[in-house]
Symmetry: D3
Subunit: 68 residues, 6 copies
Amino acid sequence: MPYVNIKVTGGREAPTAEQKAELIRGVTELLGRVLNKNPATTVVVIDEVDMDNWGIGGRSVTEIRKGS
Amino acid sequence: MPYVNIKVTGGREAPTAEQKAELIRGVTELLGRVLNKNPATTVVVIDEVDMDNWGIGGRSVTEIRKGS
Amino acid sequence: MPYVNIKVTGGREAPTAEQKAELIRGVTELLGRVLNKNPATTVVVIDEVDMDNWGIGGRSVTEIRKGS
Amino acid sequence: MPYVNIKVTGGREAPTAEQKAELIRGVTELLGRVLNKNPATTVVVIDEVDMDNWGIGGRSVTEIRKGS
Amino acid sequence: MPYVNIKVTGGREAPTAEQKAELIRGVTELLGRVLNKNPATTVVVIDEVDMDNWGIGGRSVTEIRKGS
Amino acid sequence: MPYVNIKVTGGREAPTAEQKAELIRGVTELLGRVLNKNPATTVVVIDEVDMDNWGIGGRSVTEIRKGS
């Protein structure tokens, strides 16, 4: 019954459909293996966050990628 | 003062503006009725999640809808 | 397959187990009625937030309740 | 190491890239000043929420802005 | 730079510190392997949710575990 | 109408009630100053996360603090 939310940068860094399917499969297996959680009710939601909208170290990823 | 976040699948399964208004009204009434919460400060945020980005049972909704 | 998160104040304002069960039932029915979502995979998570940890209008609920 | 999520209305009310950078800088400084948190690992994610998808007082922001 | 939030049932079903460390390690490795994300800035937050506060199928986990 | 969620480590690193009030006031002012948002409907929720439940770099904060 776990619920997992994964946030990654989107735009030109967005994962492909195949990569997203692999994340969903991987994290569902991890919860089954470590905590014996039932995969059938494990929910995963992936959010792709625009690089202007993600900050770390006080700067947006857009600024960081520019090396500004 | 409650805060409610509702996540549903988007894309071709996305709710209409009318359905979203009905969810906002319904959940605000529910919190008023059950917990006597003030509707004026009840906040509701609806997220529409792409079918590639939502997983259950280890597969994305895109894969599930295909019957793959 | 919807996922709903409800945040309300906790502590002495916390809902009872019966009220929480009623919120879970009510919001699951709402999503079934408005969007035809399958109740079996509708997930609801309720968070009870300490009154020191919730702010509105720039003040914590603890301060607001004191009328300070 | 803090994580901050800021949700604001999007669409024609969406903040500019400059305003988002200022929010990221401001909240990172706030956490450094108040809690002595290391800016290098402070993460900020801004979500822009469609006005149909945000409700307060039982109505969507779209309805509120119309004065309906 | 990914951010991952994992919600599982708590109380007598709560994971041990070792299991939580294994989830953190596992999901960080998964994001490194699938998306080449830097482990150093991958953040994981685990929430343990009381069984009264988690619902699926319109009932709380407390009710489900009782078989009521 | 913004909604802000701030997650910080809890336990012996938990902020005091005064520090939490200062975060609430500071982030509400920031949103008023940068985006002209109405403080009266700005909601802030602070989550204190157990050090076993927070991971960065593939390790829990508990392990990191031990220098293990």
